[in-house]
Amino acid sequence: MQPQSKIVIIGSGMAGSGLALELAARQIPVTLITGETAGYYSRPLLSHAFSDQTTKDRMMLKSWKDMETAGVTVMTGTRVLSINREEKSVLWESNSSSGELPYDQLVLATGSDALIPGPWKAQKTHFSLLNSYNDLENLLPKVGEVQNSIAIVGGGLIGCEVASDLNKAGKKVTLFHGVDRLMERQLSESQSAELLAHFQFLGIDIRLNTMVKGFEPGKVLLPEGDSFSADLILVAVGFLPRTELAKQAGLETGRGIKASDFLKTSDDSIFAIGDTAEINGQIYAFVLPIRSQVKWLTDYLSGKTTEPWTPGVYPAKAKIHGLQLKW
């Protein structure tokens, strides 16, 4: 079936699927192109799926069939190879076919990858990442098989949430962090100290000021020739907006895809939202601002607002078992 819609969204995470569903609810035709095959899942739950086996099922928010029923045309398992800005169309490819899809407005909601520092890329087979539903599916059985210890590299939000959850799941966890306090980007010094004390009380081994040098099979390499053996190594040192498609199309990119306060890229017909969007120099990779972008863009595309998107104040909290941490 040839999709009729003129709004095309690339990416089916919270930003892309969220926008598609909001537009469909207003009877606006929309086509969603995604490389995912499982369904629209709740990415924020990835870091809490180890201690509670029901989380994995709960995190599947909508099947593709649900999305179609809601009025969204979905193209799954489909990669967008390029954007033709002159013709206003995207070139797509799936395992079974390929083609061109025209758009009037294109929304890039391509999300982010887990950040892997350059020198570690060649050692990728020695550690795991937790960035997608597929990653979780691969990790769950591995975590189940762990006899002794799990090493987490990275003491940011995700590293700390996963450490908390694996500890709750009864695993022995050692966490390595390069600076002198946990979650230094989000928390005050006193909150970091509170989190450290909480983790130490629970028996989580926290190694601050420890720059990991690299990896060997089953080993985290540490300064001064030391190493740490672990059954499972998980790296969580940040995220990297997926900008390749935009870059290749000649759109302005920085760390993310550059967008104005109308969430427009340097092409008037192409928008960027979610983890991948760098709006006036700022990337808003959290649930609340992304929901806010989704709602604003729905209003804008349906002609309900002509005012720009304005970022608000977004209270956030970490999901740490047994401790309330807000900022």
Binding site: S42, L45, L61, V287, L288, R291, K317
Partner: protein, 54 residues
């Protein structure tokens, strides 16, 4: 009393249970939750909850 579900993470607000961690007593209906109440799992506001049919 009606349950509500978060559209971002499938958290279900059950009035019978309330949300004690946020100071919401058991027996509090969804529409009586304060406006600044947020989803205990993902942090979205009340407007991202919908009636739970299950």
């Amino acid at each position: 009393m009606q349950k509500y579900i978060c559209i971002v993470c499938n958290h279900i607000y059950d009035p019978a249970l309330g949300d004690p961690d946020s100071g919401i007593a058991p027996g509090t209906p969804f529409d009586q939750l304060p406006d600044d109440w947020s989803c205990p799992d993902c942090g979205v506001t009340k407007e991202d909850f919908e009636l739970y049919a299950g």
